[in-house]
Amino acid sequence: MTKAWGYIITAFIFFLLIWIWTLQINNVLGYSAFISGGALLVTIAFLSLFNVRKRLSFLLSAPVHQWFLLHAVGGFLALFLFWLHTGVFWPQGLYTQILAVLFYGATLSGILGLIMEKIYPNFLTRIGLECIYERIPQEIADLRNKAECLILECTKETDSDTLAQHYLETLRWFFQRPRFFINHIFGGQNAQHWVRQQCYISERFLNEKERGYLDQLFILADTKRKIDCHYFVQTLLKGWLLVHVPLAVAVLAMVFWHLIVIQVFFL
């Protein structure tokens, strides 16, 4: 937290210096846009280092959480530098508007990602289960296999297919793949209620032995619910980059075009 404040204060001082510099340049009727634009370019270049830090690990050896912090603070700094550079919220002209759309898109997706990065890890910790994203399909398949084995065993041991019928009609759908996407990402409990309800419904039709199997099935379903939650939240935590990174790359491409236009037509 102290480090974060350190970065924020550094970024604020940097912005303040650039702002004062532009004011001074304005006072001498100079082109302050070169100063703010240069600072923005440096900031954007620094932000893009976040993506290549792994390839340049011999140079950029800081831990990823520090990189993330710097990236987030740098992103906000870039936003304020952008406003300082353009002087308006919404520029005129097609190419500057495209550049603005891409920049705002990248910034907004970044802010959204930052919010998710702050909320969801805590949320996942509270679930009480840890799960590697790439292994979730295997986990779900294992749970499904276990559930089906349990049902077969129950049918065999109790000579009753009540639980098996119930599984086929309700819980089989649940075990097939992750369910309740929207509810999970908003931290809802619909999946939990649904699993409980399915168990309660069947409980009164089962004998004592079968109820033991149902309890085991409930535990498996509850674990599956937690893994589902992991899956959806982690998908979101990885998925927002599908928006942020292409937008950021497009911003870089447009910035390059902007530099060409300025060099050719203005300088």
Binding site: V28, L29, G93, L94, L129, L241, V249, V264, F265
Partner: protein, 637 residues
């Protein structure tokens, strides 16, 4: 859930940076432990990869998956446990990379598409356009397009590369249409300080285009002005230099109007009080008044009292002076005037050569004719011959000899203007009478003004204000009075000038109101010039002041004396005794900075530099911009 099942010896090492993931896992089935290959094909079609050892294929299934299978590999080394291949899916990382490439591709496609478009036809889709031009510039550049300002536009890739390594000065292009009173790239368009080096300026320092319908001009702040100006100050109320002692009346008025005598004397006079204006705005036009509040026209504000005075002041062009002897050849005169020959009419005339000559006139010659002939006006011995020669030639040719004399004193012929309306026959008749040493008796008395001859004189009576002949004579008198090398002739020119410029006797009394100023010429002399019109204030070109706004705020009737306080002690009219316009005394007390500061102060009314000062010096457009090259309607010849 088994927490230890991901131990290194129990599970595969997950590699999220692999480009593909198992197709079975994507369908939520149990993924194979081998996973997809790097080229995207399924790697799990067989349980293991058998190994050839001592000419025998050995099963290599790992222990955690059950160890070597019972069947073992086939004779060709194929695994006995075969599975149908899955369809591996792309990993998120690969999708992200593809999307990033797609984004770059989209940008490049947009750029390429916009460069390929005709810029005039589809400028809205141009990725070179940083924003719409202002209304004025849009109109003037619609034919040339962007190249009107940007040299590299339309020059292709080579031109672009050249432009990168060449300094582009857009301001140069601005000067293709705009012009100023001085150099465009100098501060305030003027060489204000030759003693020190001042940074050159560029138009784009303040004027920004591509910002929409209205031109975006940087508002100059006090700090920005202070950057160049030696005298630095914070605002108008804090440190602005005091106004100069004469402010705002730096140079003499072109019209001699003594506010003091009019307001304190004439307007109180019962004879004129009915015609007197009630307030300043009765004479001064305040509507849309900017830096100066022009007075109304002569006809509107002066004529009531002064119009009748103009035609009372006449010009005496010629006067028959007292001659000491008659030198005119009678026969020549008789031929010129169609008189009977001398021999036939001696008796009738009752005169003979032997008789002593008695001049019909006892006056002096007119100053105008004395100057034209370069003779003293009061010495008959000196002017006898030239003047009588003039009379004889006038009797022969009418106005021609006079015109010749007038034009002989100026580089360009001017007699036509000066003698406009003078009837040659009248002049001839007068000359004939004077040749006979008789007074000329006009057939009718003068009624309508203009040229006329009467008894011993040829006179001009101005028809009213703006009489062109009267104006021409005043200008002629001024022109010849500064262009004489001969001392005597110079003295006569001055005498004639003084008479014509006299407020009481001069033709039309023009100089009673119109100032005469010595102007600086390129030749180094100081020719005199009559200020016929109301002089626009041309000094202090960087000062801007809107009278109309102040009058509207302070009230139309009583606002003027708030700032313009009459100085009754000032000797205003003495300023016009010389021709130097810089030395003069105003009718009003000077305005002090504190007077403006009463309102333009901190936290009150705006006091930015640009409220009262303008940056540019005489901004205007070049001729090509003002004239219509191909008018829709041509005026028939």
């Amino acid at each position: 859930m088994d927490e230890n099942k991901f131990n290194h010896d129990q599970t595969d090492y997950e590699r999220p940076n692999f480009p593909f993931r198992c197709g079975r896992a994507a369908l939520w089935q149990t993924p194979c432990h081998k996973g997809p290959n790097l080229d995207g094909t399924c790697g799990g079609t067989q349980e293991c990869d058998p190994f050839l050892k001592n000419d025998r294929w050995e099963c290599r299934r790992e222990n955690r998956f059950g160890g070597p299978c019972a069947e073992g590999p086939g004779p060709r080394g194929e695994c006995s446990i075969q599975r149908p291949p899955c369809a591996p899916r792309k990993a998120l990382r690969v999708i992200r990379g593809r999307l990033a490439l797609l984004a770059i591709g989209c940008v490049l496609a947009l750029v390429g598409f916009s460069l390929g478009l005709n810029p005039n036809a589809a400028s809205f889709a141009s990725l070179l356009d940083p924003g719409p031009l202002s209304k004025s510039h849009k109109k003037f550049t619609e034919k040339e397009g962007c190249s009107a300002c940007h040299a590299a536009y339309g020059k292709g890739p080579v031109g672009w590369i050249k432009a990168v390594f060449t300094k582009t000065d857009i301001s140069d292009r601005c000067l293709n249409c705009h012009m100023f009173g001085g150099p465009g790239s100098k501060a305030h368009n003027n060489n204000l300080h030759t003693d020190r080096e001042i940074q050159n300026t560029e138009c784009i320092m303040c004027h920004r285009e591509h910002s929409g319908q209205s031109m975006l001009t940087r508002v100059l702040t006090s700090q920005q002005c202070n950057y160049c100006h030696k005298e630095k100050f914070e605002s108008f109320s804090k440190g602005h230099p005091e106004f100069s002692e004469k402010y705002p009346s730096f140079s003499r008025n072109t019209i001699k109007f003594d506010h003091s005598s009019h307001l304190n004397k004439h307007f109180d006079n019962p004879k004129f009080s009915e015609k007197a204006p009630q307030s300043c705005i009765n004479c001064h036009i305040v509507t849309l008044a900017d830096r100066e509040v022009r007075p109304g026209t002569f006809e509107a504000i002066c004529a009531d009292c002064h119009d009748s005075q103009i035609n009372k002041k006449e010009l005496v062009l010629l006067r028959l002076p007292e001659f000491s002897q008659n030198l005119i050849d009678p026969s020549s005169l008789a031929r010129a005037c169609n008189f009977p020959e001398k021999g036939q009419s001696d008796e009738e005339e009752g005169q003979s050569d032997e008789e002593e000559f008695q001049s019909v006139s006892t006056d002096q010659a007119a100053l105008v004719s004395a100057f034209l002939l370069n003779v003293p006006e009061n010495d008959p011995e000196a002017y006898n011959q030239p003047l009588q020669n003039l009379i004889l030639s006038m009797a022969k040719e009418g106005t021609t000899p006079l015109a010749r004399l007038i034009d002989g004193h100026t580089p360009k012929p001017i007699a036509k203007k000066l003698l406009a309306g003078l009837n040659p026959e009248v002049l001839k008749q007068a000359a004939c009478s004077w040749g006979l040493n008789l007074e000329y008796e006009p057939p009718t008395a003068e009624k309508y003004g203009g040229w006329y001859a009467d008894m011993l004189e040829v006179r001009y009576k101005p028809s009213g204000h703006r009489d062109l002949v009267a104006k021409s004579w005043v200008e002629y008198a001024l022109a010849v009075s500064t262009a004489q090398d001969d001392e005597e002739k110079f003295a006569r020119a001055i005498a004639m000038r003084d008479q014509l410029l006299s407020a009481k006797e001069g033709i039309g009394g023009c100089i009673k109101c119109h100032a005469v100023t010595a102007v600086r010429s390129s030749k180094g002399n100081h020719p005199l010039q009559v200020e016929w019109g109301y002089g626009k204030v041309s000094n202090r070109p960087y000062v801007h002041y809107s009278h109309s706004i102040h009058i509207e705020i302070l009230g139309r009737k009583s606002s003027c004396p708030n700032c313009h306080v009459l100085d009754s002690q000032a000797d205003y009219m003495s300023s016009f005794k010389t021709f130097d316009s810089s030395k003069w005394v105003s009718n009003f007390e000077s305005i002090k900075r504190q007077m403006c500061g009463q309102c333009h102060a901190e936290k009150e009314i705006n006091q930015d530099c640009q409220l009262c000062h303008v940056y540019h010096f005489k901004p205007s457009f070049k001729k090509e911009m003002v004239f219509v090259k191909n008018p829709i309607y041509k005026i028939p010849q």
